[in-house]
Every structure is written in C-alpha cells, then in structure tokens.
C-alpha cells in the first residue's frame, strides 16, 4: 500500500476512539433523561455531554474517518503513491491538536453550546479554534485528493478516473464548498464575540451561514458510504456494478443538490420569508434523486451477484447472496435503515409536515437512524473490509463482525423507532430532565426506556466494533490477497469530461448558490438584524 497504511490507521483510530467515548456519553444522556435517571444529572453536566457527544460523532468520527478512507482510496484506486504525504501528516496532527483543544474546552465547562453552536450563546475561544483546526486539516485533505486525481489524469490522459476516486474527489469538492458557511460564521462573527472584540452578534446571519454548511455536511458524511455501495459492495457480493455511469451521475447530483438546500434547516425561522424557503424546498426534493437512483443501481448489482450464484425467479437471488460477508450484510442492513430514514427526510422537507416535527424527538430519531444507522454501519463495513490491507492480517472469523453489525442494526431500530413516535406526540429536544409527573409526559416514559435499551445495545455493538479491529492487529492469520474494487458490467472506455471532473459542476454549483443563498445573505448586509447581546459561557 505504498506506506500509507500508518497514515490511514492513524486517522481511523482517532475517529474510532472519539466514537467509542461518545457512545458511552450517549447512553448516559439517554439514562439521565429517562424516568430511570430522573433525579440524576445536572443540566451543566447533561449539556456538556450533549456538546461532547455531538462534537465527537459529528465532527471527529466523521472527518477523520473520511480523511483516512480518502487517503486509502487515493492510493489503492489510483494505484500510485499519495502526493504530498508530508502535508497529509501535517493535516493529521493539526486536526488532533484541534480535537484536543476543543475537548479540553468542553471538559472545563466553557463550551456548553452544543455542536451546532447557538449564538448568542458563546463558548471559550479555544473551543472554536479547535474546531477551526479540524476544518483546516480537512481542507489539506481536500487539496491532496484533488491533486492526486489531477496527477493521475495527467498520467492517464483520456482515461476515465476510477469511480471510487471520482466519488472521493466529489466529496472533497463538496466539502470545500460547504465549509465556507461555518468558516465565515466562526471567523467573522463567533470568534470575535468569544474574544470580546464585539458585544453583540447578528443571530439571523449566523444561523443562515451555519445552514449553508448544515446540509452538505451530512452528505459529506454520507458519500463514503455510497462510495462503498458502488465500489466495494458489488465486489463483496461477487457481482458487478450495474452501471458505472449511474455511479458518476449520483455523486455529481449530490454535489450539485446538497449545497443550495441548507435553508430547510431554517424552515421554521423568522429571518427568511417563504419565497426562498420554497425554492430551497424544491431543490431539496431533487437531492432525493441520487439516493433513489442508487437504490436501483445497487439492488440491480446485487441481483447480478445473486443470479450468478444460482438465484432463480423474481426474488430467489436475494437468498443466494453471500450474506455471511460483512460488507454484503452491512449494505443490506443499511438499505433497510435508509428506507426509513429517507422517508423521514422527505417528511422533514415538506414544510407542512415539518411544522409537526421540527425540534421534536422525530428529528433526533431521523438523524440517528440515517447517519448513525445507514452511514455509520457502512463505516464499520469499510473498516472491516480494508483493515486486512492496512494491517497485513486477516480476521480470524467473520462471525463477531456480523454479530456487531446485527447488534448495531437492532439497537438503532429499537432506539429510533420509539423516538420517531415520541416526536409525533410532541416530545421536544435537548431536555436534561423531563417532568414525568405531568400526565402527558408520563405516558412517554415507557417509550423513553425502550429507546434507552436500544442505546445500550448500540453501546455493546460499539465496544465490539473496537474490539474486532483491535484484535486484528494481533491476528495470526496473514491477509489474503483479493481484489477490492468492483468492476462495472460495462467498464467505461471513454467518459465525457463532465463525468470525469468537476469543472462544469462547479460552475453550476456557483449559479445555484448565488440563486439560493444570494438574497438570503445579502439581506443581512443591506439591513442587518439588530444585534443580540453575547452570552458568554465564561464568567467575565
């Protein structure tokens, strides 16, 4: 692997260490807010935990995993050494320093502003600087991904870039576009407020800038899972990718339609009118298209695999698929969760329905299911698949891997299904202690306990995951050489530049962002909102 193993492993272990810690916090939080923990957990500790859990799961696990996987793809799919490895390591350490700064600030109780930061609530500047460093590290990664693909294309003129790398670079480009929002919010508004340079903050503008990042960031997390769907799962199933073109189109559609839609996170906000809210709702409906296309293409790819193994009839191919392989099992489980989670997403987008579920447990359930469920289960499967290549050792048995995946699926369904239901009942978010004496709230209690049970199962699964990877480092079995990436049924010979690069798409993204966010941001320049006084989590 041309000596990039340590680089990848370093990123992955940081990601999974954060994941394991955050999983423990998550269960503690669920216990505290349930009837079983009703007298425990001061709000100070609870919301500190919520902040830590959110930062670890949403910023550390994701960013470091995606960087590690990206380096892996750049080396293996392009079959060449990683350019700028010194920069890659510099980025890694920058990110680690950032994580340490942020975690220390949270632990000191000076950053209890949740991972979505709620200005004018303002944390210690070390918290924000820590996160800025993590983002800066990821930008280094983005540049390296783009450079790696550009170098490969120069050496292979006219050839279609391998789909796995195309997807990874699409993700990097999307990340560069989307981080502009949160970077602007932090650099121009929140950090100056935190330093005491300004005493008020324009909250409408900060929410709008943050929303710019808010949707594409979840697709940043999602795209590696889809990369696995298209390039790893068909091979693991023993088949071929149904259509390489559809794969490319999917990643392009994500790049184009996940960016100009952030306002659906501000659907209930007063700082925008329904004109632009409708436009971004319309654009959001289009971001369902790549997922729906993927469901077809991957199912068709699996059908090929099943029929090659002797499956007959309309559905007989399902039975013959090699479900004993972790990547195949994870894909199947991910699709089930994607079905539920995707449906929830469509509900959230319709603003009439959004009014019923905004800021209720439905939202919490939705993103735990779709991100914690479909996406993270694929992170597990990817790790299991590539760890032998990184360590040179083989899993002794796939049984603990399968068990871990099943526990994750079961735990996620048991945790999130009651949560969806409670959200529809009106249970609201971010509560340290519910008043279980109130008759309405008392009725919710049993379901909260069921969710807690799901969370405990998830914690067991999380620990098992870490164990499965850790033991692999000392496994006596050497890694078995086998091909990793799927071939398409009809491998592309030539593709248009539009399907091999992002020049055209960047221009279209620019047009979309100007149309979708131009006026919403311009209105704050023309007529700023009256500033709200900064509330600092450090006593002056």
């Amino acid at each position: 692997m041309r000596n990039a193993e340590r680089l990848c492993l370093a990123h992955f272990w940081v990601a999974f260490a954060a994941f394991a810690g955050a999983a423990v916090l998550g269960v503690w939080q669920m216990w505290v807010r349930s009837p079983l923990g009703a007298q425990v957990g001061s709000p100070g500790h609870y919301f500190m935990s919520v902040t830590a859990h959110g930062v670890a799961m949403a910023y550390v696990l994701t960013t470091f995993f995606i960087m590690g996987f990206g380096y892996f793809v750049a080396v293996t799919a392009l079959d060449r050494p990683l350019p700028g490895k010194v920069w890659a390591w510099a980025g890694f350490w920058l990110g680690v320093i950032g994580v340490v700064l942020a975690v220390l600030a949270i632990g000191r109780g000076e950053a209890t502003v949740l991972f979505t930061f709620y200005p004018p609530l303002t944390a210690s500047v070390w918290f924000y600087l820590g996160l800025v460093l993590v983002v800066a590290a990821s930008w280094i990664w983005c540049v390296l991904m783009i450079v790696a693909m550009a170098d490969w294309k120069r050496e292979n003129p006219g050839q279609p870039a391998p789909l796995a790398m195309f997807a990874t670079v699409a993700n990097a480009v999307m990340w560069l576009w989307t981080t502009v929002g949160v970077a602007a919010e932090l650099v121009f508004q929140v950090i100056p407020a935190s330093l005491g340079l300004v005493q008020t903050i324009d909250v409408g503008l900060s929410r709008t800038l943050f929303s710019w990042t808010l949707h594409a960031i979840v697709y940043f997390w999602l795209l590696p899972a889809y990369t696995a769907f298209y390039t790893l799962a068909p091979r693991a199933a023993g088949g071929r990718l149904y259509s390489d073109t559809m794969g490319r189109l999917t990643f392009i559609l994500f790049l184009v339609y996940s960016l100009p839609v952030g306002m659906h996170h501000l659907m209930m906000d007063p700082e925008h009118g329904n004109g632009l809210k409708f436009l971004q709702t319309l654009l959001t409906v289009f971001v369902t298209v790549p997922t729906l296309l993927t469901i077809f293409t991957i199912t068709a790819s699996f059908e090929i695999a099943g029929r090659l193994r002797g499956g007959r009839g309309a559905f007989g191919w399902i039975r013959t698929l090699p479900w004993h392989r972790p990547m195949v099992l994870a894909t199947g489980l991910a699709f089930v969760m994607l079905g539920f989670g995707g449906f929830g997403g469509i509900v959230n987008n319709g603003y009439g329905m959004n009014a019923m579920v905004h800021n209720t447990s439905w939202v919490t359930a939705h993103f735990h299911l779709i991100f914690g469920g479909s996406v993270v289960i694929m992170y597990f499967a990817i790790a299991y698949e590539i760890w032998p290549r990184l360590t040179g050792r083989e899993h002794l048995s796939p049984a603990p891997l399968r068990l871990q995946l099943w526990l994750w699926f079961i735990g996620m369904m048991v945790m999130t299904v009651p949560w969806h239901w409670l959200g529809l009942q009106g249970q609201w978010r971010r509560v340290a202690n519910f008043n279980y004496a109130d008759p309405i709230i008392a009725g919710w209690g049993p379901w909260v306990i069921v969710s807690l049970a799901g969370g405990v199962i998830l914690l067991i699964s999380a620990m098992l995951f870490v164990r499965n990877l850790a033991v692999l480092h000392r496994s006596p079995a050497p890694a078995v050489a086998r091909p990793l990436y799927a071939l398409a049924v009809h491998p592309p010979q030539r593709v248009p530049a539009a399907l091999n690069g992002f020049g055209l798409w960047n221009i279209l993204v620019l047009v979309l962002m100007v149309a979708a966010y131009g006026w919403p941001i311009l209105q704050f320049v023309i007529d700023p909102s009256p500033g709200a006084i900064v509330h600092r989590t450090q006593w002056p």
Partner: protein, 279 residues
C-alpha cells in the same frame, strides 16, 4: 453471447457538449421553476386570498416587508411603563468594561462604605454583601434605583446622586473585591430538596435550576447577581419582595414568577444554602 456495438470512441470534448448543454438547461430550468413558483406564483395567489396586491405579497415572501403573503398583518398597540430602563447595548457594556475601580474606590469611601463596607462585606443584615459581585448586576441595581424602577428609602437618594460613569466605577470596584471563599460544608447544610432546586429546578412548577443563571459561566441574563456568600436575611427579603410583587425590576418578571412559587421553607433553605458559600 455478448454483443458490443463497434463504434468509434468519441473524444471527451465532443462527448461533453450535450452534457454541458443539457445539464445547464436542466439546472437552470429547475432554478427558474423554483423561483417562479416560490417568489411569484405562490405569494401572488395567496395574497389574493388575503387582499394583498402582488407587489406587497412578493415583498413579504422575500422578507423585504414584514408579514405573511397569505394573511393580513395584525395592528400593534403599545402602552408601557418599563420595569427597568437598563438596556444592555454595546455602549453600556463598553462603559462597564472601561470602568475605573480606583475612581470607584473614591466614590465608595464617600458614599457606600458605611453600609456596604470598604471591601464589600456589609455592616448589617439588611445590607447586601457586594464583594466579588457581578459588575453588571451592581450597575443595573444602581441604575434602577436612580430611575425609580427599584425603590429603597436610602438607596434611591444615593443612586440619584451618582452619574452613569460613577455607577460603573463603583460596580467595577466592588466586583474586583475578593470573596471570602467560605468552606460551605462546614458552614451550612445542603438538604437534598434544596440541592435539587439549585441543580435541577422543578419542571413541574416551571422553575429552572437556580444554578442555570446564578452560577458562573451559566450564560444566563447579563444582570444575574452572584448569590454565593450573600446575607441570609437579604436573600429572604428579596425573594419575598419578588413574590409579593413589591420588587419589580426583574425584566419580564423572571424572578417574580419563580419566587411566587417557592414555599417559605424553600426560601429560607435557599438563603441558608447560598449564605454558606455554595456556588
């Protein structure tokens, strides 16, 4: 049998033209459709139902004018005697951060020391300790005494004799005085129901935890006073004054609403808890 049609493989830039054309048309078309529907058609149609002309409806949809494109705006009525004249603007916060504790010390010697002590340790149970109190809290109370939002036979005249800068200087001086840092466990009890009220509040009665505002770093209202080490009698008197409505300078009745729901035992318990130095 596999059949591959034999056809010449086109160069990428030739393959590209239809992509550039059709993707631009598709995305441009979707954008135009979205803008037309969201900014023009929906507001205008909704506006008709609300008796609004097209221009007003579109401006409302864009947020240029207030109001919904689907409903007429309610008319607003205003009376008002505000409960506090203090406005935490950037200017006021600047005045506070630029205040001079040494000038404050001179004023304190003249005016405050006979009741509140030189170091902020007051001379009697009716006078609150001010040592290490939040500067913003002292500022607000003095300002409210000046404007009459809060009344006290002695403090009203004292405050009226001070100008805004002097108030800030005095506040800064006392804020800089060290607290005694008592050892709470040896001085006071922490009965479970009081600790619960301080740490968890009472959701049944809408009472947030005292610590949610009154603990350092809680990020609550700017003018929140520090309660730790305060005189028991003073705390009891203030809570009772809030409960009866006699003291009304808490913005939006935050303390009046809370205090009116506390029992006498809770008021006494909380006062003893904070007196002992618990934070």
């Amino acid at each position: 049998m596999t059949e591959h049609r034999q056809q010449p493989i086109s160069e990428p830039h030739v393959l590209d033209q239809p992509w550039r054309l059709w993707s631009s048309i598709a995305i441009g078309g979707i954008l135009l459709l979205g803008i037309l529907l969201g900014v023009v058609i929906i507001p205008v149609v909704q506006g008709r139902g609300a008796g609004l002309d097209a221009y007003t409806a579109i401006c409302r949809a864009l947020g240029i004018l207030p109001g919904s494109p689907a409903q007429p705006q309610p008319s607003t009525q205003f009376p008002a005697t505000p409960v506090s004249q203090v406005v935490w603007t950037a200017d006021v916060l600047q005045i506070l951060s630029n205040a001079d504790p040494r000038r404050g010390y001179e004023k304190v010697q003249e005016v405050c020391v006979s009741c509140h002590g030189e170091k902020g340790d007051s001379v009697g149970p009716d006078f609150p300790h001010l040592a290490g109190q939040s500067g913003a809290a002292i500022y607000k109370q003095l300002y409210d005494y000046r404007t009459g939002s809060r009344t006290n036979p002695m403090m009203t005249d004292v405050a009226k004799a001070l100008d805004e800068k002097a108030i800030a200087d005095v506040a800064a001086y006392y804020a800089a005085q060290p607290k005694r840092n008592l050892n709470p466990r040896s001085l006071g009890e922490s009965p479970p129901n009081i600790v619960q009220l301080v740490e968890l509040g009472d959701p049944n009665r809408n009472i947030p935890p005292c610590a949610a505002c009154h603990r350092a770093g809680a990020a609550g209202p700017i003018e929140t006073p520090i309660l730790s080490e305060q005189r028991t009698e003073y705390l009891v008197a203030q809570l009772k004054a809030y409960a009866s409505g006699e003291r009304r300078n808490d913005v939006y009745g935050r303390m009046r609403t809370i205090a009116s729901q506390l029992t006498d035992a809770e008021i006494n318990g909380l006062a003893a808890y904070y007196r002992a130095g618990f934070k």
